[in-house]
């Protein structure tokens, strides 16, 4: 579809699954309606909004699609059916996603019918590379498999902290994995990309923080695999997650994409924290997301050496001053013009400086930001409970941690690169989330990101007692994502195909 107005209307309704309920008779419609068809004009202005985005439905009926229409051929075979919400009051068409059905595989439809499903925000179908990327939430995953259904409840905000910090976070990685050379890496399903990962991560962060999404005044999305050269991911995130007050079909929120290779997200932590601390801003919360469908040329091609490490996924952090789980005590950032990794405009895959990416790039910048920050706070390695280094491959973070004098127990639990691969902008954020998953109150965490080009941000965080309170809301954490019984392993050819996407 190339019509922008149609695309925008479909996205507005379909990305979030907006529905309406008649307050007189209770009838529900999958659509935003001004009046009820049954009650007529007396129901005008008596329709309330129904939001299916955080709900789970039931797969009522389904069938197998083995010969999709042209725009769906890249999905191969899939299960399509009817999903009902609210005991059948609303029925919508939908397809099951995150399932690879082989060419001669029989699917027992009867066992799928009646199962609970969760709407997933995904790409809708294939379009030309010049067209708007269409998305929709009429894709569903089984509620009791890889990623469980989680309710979103807005919690009362109690304690105000002196320093702003993280009030909630969420991680998203896909169900598919490739296992090679001793490491596992997350592989997106065909209908996923950096935009869908950003939305899913943001969704879980909202659930975990318990804040009202309308309190988010600004959202930053860092990614180096935005499907667009011009058009923000953040606008999609803001609209789908309804960040800021909704007014008509416009959100009262500032949304911006940031770019600095792998530190595009971490760079904004301080800005996000500063904004909620600025008295005149009127902003209670901000959100920073780092998400990537990390790109690499196929093996054997220039830039193909990255193909051994690239992953998929992201993490989102909500910042605020109320019910903080980790206060930001301080930071230090360094930058130099070091072209160790780059992608020219219009090119599909990034190039890599080889040997040059180590000492003069990663190690120099990470060590500098960390030592400067520790110096500022007069800290020795043993004063910290956790060290979260940026982790582009399994070797670099271990070496930099050792060189800086950290012990294995301080950094080992942050290392996720062997489980999800290098998720670029989501890389050190996912590591930080893994540490927050297990940290105790009043512990100190030092996280150091690295972005090619080059720079590093080091942050000093101190956890609070709220960490344990909010942990109860998590239905799944990073460790459970990594060791998930529903994760599915694919071979190299499938991995390249899935990564290519719609």
């Amino acid at each position: 579809m190339s019509s922008e107005p149609i695309e925008r209307r479909v996205s507005y309704l379909g990305d979030r699954l907006k529905a309406s309920r008649c307050q007189i008779c209770g009838k529900e419609y999958f659509e935003v309606r001004d009046y009820c068809s049954d009650c007529g004009r007396k129901s005008y202005l008596k329709m309330s909004a129904v939001d299916l985005f955080y709900e789970k439905g039931t797969l009522e009926l389904c069938t197998l699609v083995t010969e999709p229409t042209n725009k769906f051929t890249k999905l191969g075979s899939y299960v399509y059916g009817i999903v009902s919400f609210h005991g059948g009051k609303i029925r919508v068409p939908g397809r099951l996603t995150d399932q690879i059905i082989k060419k001669d595989e029989n699917v027992d439809l009867a066992t799928l019918e009646g199962r609970e499903v969760v709407p997933r925000f995904r790409r809708r179908y294939s379009v030309n590379r010049t067209d708007v990327v269409p998305t929709i939430s009429l894709a569903f995953t089984l509620a009791d498999e890889y990623y469980p259904h989680q309710e979103y409840k807005v919690a009362a905000q109690n304690k105000e902290y002196e320093l702003p910090g993280i009030v909630g976070y969420g991680v998203y990685t896909s169900r598919f994995r490739i296992k090679e050379g001793g490491i596992e890496r997350a592989v997106p399903f065909t209908d996923e990309d950096s935009v869908t990962a950003a939305v899913e991560a943001g969704k879980t962060a909202l659930i975990h923080s318990g804040i009202d999404s309308s309190h988010v005044g600004k959202v930053y999305v860092g990614s180096e695999s935005n499907p667009y050269a011009v058009k923000p991911i953040a606008s999609k995130v803001a609209q789908v997650l309804q960040l800021g007050e909704e007014d008509g079909d416009v959100q009262s929120v500032d949304a911006v994409d940031t770019e600095f290779a792998c530190k595009a997200a971490t760079s904004m932590f301080k800005d996000a924290a500063a904004l909620v601390n600025y008295p005149a801003s009127g902003i209670r919360n901000t959100m920073v997301i780092g998400a990537d469908n990390s790109q690499a040329a196929p093996r054997g091609c220039p830039g193909g050496e990255l193909d051994l490490f690239v992953g998929y996924g992201g993490a989102a952090f909500v910042f605020g001053k109320h019910d903080v789980i980790a206060e930001i005590e301080g930071w230090h950032s360094v930058t130099s013009d070091t072209p160790d990794f780059w992608r020219r405009d219009g090119e599909q895959f990034p190039m890599h400086g080889g040997r040059f990416t180590g000492d003069p790039a990663y190690f120099k910048h990470v060590k500098k930001s960390v030592t400067k920050l520790m110096g500022k706070f007069k800290l020795e390695p043993q004063d910290l409970d956790y060290f979260v280094p940026h982790q582009p491959n399994p070797a670099f973070p271990v070496k930099v941690a050792r060189d800086l004098g950290f012990k294995e127990e301080q950094y080992i639990c942050s290392l996720q690169v062997k489980k999800f691969g290098n998720t670029y902008s989501g890389c050190s954020p996912v590591g930080l989330a893994a540490v927050l998953d297990i940290a105790k109150p009043d512990e100190r965490i030092l996280v150091a990101s690295y972005g090619s080009g080059a720079g590093s941000d080091a942050y000093l965080l101190r956890t609070t007692s709220q960490l344990l309170e909010k942990r109860k809301r998590q239905k799944i954490n990073v460790k459970q994502l990594a060791e998930n019984p529903f994760a599915q392993y694919v071979d190299y050819t499938t991995y390249r195909r899935l990564k290519q996407g719609m």
């Binding site: 389904c62 069938t63 229409t69 399509y80 919508v92 068409p93 939908g94 269409p134 009429l138």
Partner: protein, 398 residues
């Protein structure tokens, strides 16, 4: 019926792939055949009601009426509808109102000109939301079949019988089409072929359960009753036509097992026609799929809900040319149905009415219904979309 409009002549093209023919050529062919049948000439036509579903998409024809005018040198009122049934319904209203006495009703479709994209077009126009969610033109038929089996508790051996019954519909339709010179597939198929195609597709319905994609045209000359009597000894009267509309979005409909639009249209058509349903012997069902054939029999009231598959199974095991329900013989899709005759959407309804016209006049040759006498009444049911619109037209000899 003294005042009913009447069909005085019919014409059609062969259905199938007409690679080398322009859309205009097809309708010309159908019109000429109809014209020859009754001595009506172009200058006698007072209006044209034509139908096509896709010409603006498949052939980029925006104002189809203009093409028709150029072709015929006619400057009479012309209107485009989406199906021949819709065109006929509109034409009959005008004739009954006394506005016209001679009208051309016809339809045309050229789907194969857009062979590579037609399934996307079909699905997107059938229902955008379902299309966005990954629906194919076949999916809803399969879902309705599952809903049907669930609702009526059809499992195990019964379900196997139902599946065989559906396969028999396809086999029967292909057998009928061997006697139809206009049919797209004039060859027999076997039960095994139908079942194997399902196995290959790993689904309850396979290739042979669905109507094909076709090109073709059809034309009917419709006049007032008065005029008809002057033109022919055997006018076929349009006794009652009716249509009804349902939601675009199949999942949102209340009943997932039946077509509400057909039920409403049938009730109105039979009331208008003043015919006893038991006297209707010839049926032309819109079998976009074998499932649709079965469910339509129930929606039209010829079989009880949840039981049509039993009648089909019993009657078609050793097909004698009809479906037996409570000792009555129903002659269904004697032209081969959409399955074997072909389904050029905008022209399909014309082929259905063509067949009933021929059957009621006893002119169907080898296809003639094996009834005790020439049938009195016939019924045609046509859909637009997956049950979004349903048209019922009851024709009779007097």
């Amino acid at each position: 019926m003294q005042n009913s409009p009447a069909i005085v002549a019919v014409g059609r093209t062969k259905f199938g792939e007409h690679y080398g023919k322009e859309p205009e050529k097809l309708i010309e062919e159908a019109w000429l055949a109809a014209s020859r049948g009754c001595g009506i000439e172009r200058k006698d036509l007072e209006a044209c009601y034509m139908s096509d579903c896709f010409l603006p998409i498949t052939n980029k024809l925006g104002l189809e009426e203009g093409f028709l005018s150029e072709l015929t040198e006619l400057h009479v009122p012309m209107e485009i509808t989406r199906s021949v049934s819709a065109a006929l319904l509109t034409a009959c209203h005008a004739i009954r109102a006394g506005i016209y006495s001679t009208v051309l009703v016809g339809g045309i479709e050229k789907m194969t000109d857009r062979w590579d994209k037609i399934r996307d077009d079909l699905m997107l126009l059938e229902d955008p939301w379902s299309y966005y969610a990954g629906c194919t033109p076949e999916s809803n038929h399969e879902l309705m079949l599952r809903a049907y089996a669930k609702k009526y508790g059809i499992t195990g051996e019964k379900l196997e019988k139902l599946n065989v019954a559906l396969a028999q519909i396809a086999v029967k339709n292909h057998a009928n089409a061997t006697k139809n010179e206009y049919a797209q597939y004039q060859r027999k198929i076997t039960l095994e072929q139908v079942l194997n195609a399902r196995k290959a597709a790993r689904k309850a319905l396979g290739l042979y359960d669905f109507a094909p994609i076709s090109d073709g045209a059809s034309a009917l000359i419709v006049t007032s009753a008065e005029k008809a009597k002057k033109l022919t000894d055997q006018p076929v009267y349009v006794l009652g036509t009716a249509s009804a509309t349902d939601f675009l979005n199949y999942p949102a409909r209340e009943d997932l097992t039946h077509f509400m639009a057909t039920k409403i249209a049938m009730a109105n058509a039979i009331r208008r026609a003043g015919v006893n349903q038991k006297d209707i012997q010839v049926l032309e069902l819109n079998d976009q799929s074998t499932m649709m054939d079965m469910v339509s029999l129930e929606d039209l009231g010829f079989c009880e809900e949840g039981t049509a598959w039993k009648n089909i199974y019993d009657s078609y095991q050793d097909y004698q040319g009809y479906l037996e329900v409570d000792g009555r013989k129903l002659f269904i899709n004697l032209n081969g149905g959409l399955k074997a005759d072909g389904n050029p959407l905008g022209a399909t309804g014309g082929a259905q009415l063509f067949e009933i016209f021929k059957q009621l006049r006893g002119e169907a040759g080898p296809r003639q219904a094996a009834a005790d006498s020439t049938p009195q009444y016939g019924l045609s049911n046509e859909f637009e979309g997956f049950g979004t619109k349903s048209y019922v037209c009851i024709l009779g000899r007097n």
